[in-house]
């Protein structure tokens, strides 16, 4: 995202430089001549385009964040711990039957969100 923003900034700087060179060039040409005006007009368009590109770059596209909700399962007797995606109906301290490691009761120890940027 940052590289995109930098690209936009670089292009707009180059366009401003181009406009500056054109304005400089026009100062060497007779100011009442039509060529001078055309050069000035092109310079102006370059300036406007550079502003447009710069502001477009400032409009940051928000990264899509998907919800990755984890349910942590633990056992009342042993140190068994398991993580799995959240299933509707899960809640903290919900008993889930017997533990996979021992005969103790497993329960939901925590439910939390781990954001994943896309």
């Amino acid at each position: 995202m940052n590289s995109n923003k930098n690209k936009f900034t670089l292009i707009s700087i180059l366009l401003v430089l181009g406009a500056f060179i054109l304005f400089l060039l026009s100062s060497f040409i007779d100011q009442y001549s039509i060529i001078n005006r055309i050069i000035m007009f092109i310079g102006l368009i370059l300036l406007m385009t550079s502003w447009g590109i710069y502001f477009m770059g400032l409009k940051q596209i928000k990264p899509q964040i998907t919800e990755n909700v984890i349910t942590v399962i633990a056992c009342k007797n042993c140190d068994y711990r398991e993580e799995r995606p959240f299933i509707e109906g899960d809640y903290v301290l919900k008993e889930l039957g017997s533990c996979k490691k021992c005969s103790g009761i497993s329960y939901i120890h925590a439910i939390y969100l781990v954001p994943v940027k896309k």
Binding site: D90, V92, L93, A110, I111, L113
Partner: protein, 372 residues
């Protein structure tokens, strides 16, 4: 050629006149249309925000409808009932005479809660206790979103009607915060409908960790209490009764507990989620003193009053998070902070009380997705 005619550069009178016309036109625009241009710009921003808010309000209504439909009777039209209930309002008590204002506020809040519960029981009779509590939270979020949309639209239309730049400037300046709150409510609504724990559930999560495996009993409206022994101290842990989305009356519970021991309580610890300042880290745990509870007033007042009456020190432990984090699915940092707070409380109880003392630990917050 056209450019030459429009912007003549000669020294003759017609060229000078045309240039003068351009100059007058330019200054006229600046002088007479300056404010109009500004109004147009602010109005455009406000219109965009209002459209977004309208979309959020409509989506929240649909989401509410979708959730309630699962527990509604088939032959009842719930759409019109929900639409009209979204306009539900609460009038705050008069505070010109502040005497007893918190009792009156509590009464009004109780009435509000009772009306919402009654409405839910009528439109979603198949919903159990947990589902009904979650629907209550969904309704509250939808009502809030509808209210925000209507307020912003009101000021937009008022600004258009009066062509007042001041109204537009004030609206535009507040829009970033308003949008942030509205988006947080919308995301909260989605979390409530799936029954996941929210950031504000940190207090109940800490309490549930402390009371894990001990018998519980209901001691106040939607509040459970459990007696735990920590290093020979009698610790009474209270939290809202989950896993439905309720907050309960922790103030009433603390008051009843203290009164039942005739004030012989060594310390009251309160754990709550607190709004963080920009630059602060989510999940940061900070200690302080005072009643850590973000209710409209009555519950906090009860705790402060009873603590003052019996000179019981009030310790507060808070976990920092922003409004969106408090209302949406609990982040990993916040869940991890709960374990840290449990250790801090145990340490504080040992350091600040002596053996045989009675201590109260209150986990404040919405207990959605957290049982006991």
């Amino acid at each position: 050629m056209i450019i030459n005619q429009l912007f003549p550069s000669g020294n003759d009178i017609p060229s000078t006149l045309i240039n003068l016309v351009w100059l007058i036109l330019f200054f006229s625009i600046i002088l007479f249309f300056n404010q109009r241009i500004q109004i147009w710009m602010y109005q455009r921003n406000a219109e965009k925000a209002t459209m977004k808010l309208q979309l959020l309000a409509e989506k929240s209504k649909e989401e509410t409808l979708k959730n309630i439909q699962n527990f509604a009777l088939e032959n009842i039209d719930i759409k019109s009932q929900i639409t009209s209930f979204l306009e539900f309002f609460t009038i705050e008590p008069v505070d010109k005479d502040p005497f007893g204002v918190l009792n009156r506020l509590e009464h009004i809040l109780d009435s509000r809660r009772e009306r919402i519960k009654l409405f839910i029981s009528q439109i979603a009779p198949k919903a159990g206790k947990v589902e009904a509590a979650n629907i209550e939270d969904i309704m509250e979020a939808a009502i809030a979103l509808n209210f925000i949309f209507k307020i912003v639209r009101h000021f937009l239309l008022l600004g258009k009607k009066t062509k007042s730049l001041m109204i537009f400037i004030q609206l535009d300046m507040q829009l970033p915060l308003i949008m942030k709150i509205a988006e947080a409510y919308y995301k909260a609504l989605k979390t409530f409908s799936s029954g996941k724990p929210i950031g504000d559930g940190l207090g109940p999560l800490v309490a549930s960790r402390l009371m894990f495996g001990s018998p519980k009993q209901v001691i106040a409206e939607d509040i459970v209490c459990s007696e735990v022994n920590i290093e020979n101290r009698k610790v009474y842990v209270i939290k809202a009764e989950g896993p439905g989305g309720v907050v309960g009356k922790p103030g009433e519970a603390v008051k009843r507990l203290v009164e039942s021991f005739e004030g012989k309580v060594a310390r009251i610890f309160m754990i709550d989620a607190a709004s963080k300042l920009e630059g602060e880290t989510t999940g940061e745990v900070v200690e302080g003193v005072g009643a850590a509870i973000g209710d409209p007033g009555p519950e906090k007042y009860k705790i402060e009053e009873v603590a003052t009456k019996y000179k019981i020190p009030l310790d507060a432990i808070i976990c920092k998070m922003d409004i969106e984090e408090a209302l949406t699915t609990m982040k990993k940092e916040i869940a991890e902070a709960a374990d840290l707070i449990v250790n801090k409380i145990k340490k504080a109880i040992i350091e600040r009380t002596k053996e045989g003392d009675i201590v109260i630990v209150a986990g404040i917050g919405n207990t959605i997705g957290i049982a006991q």
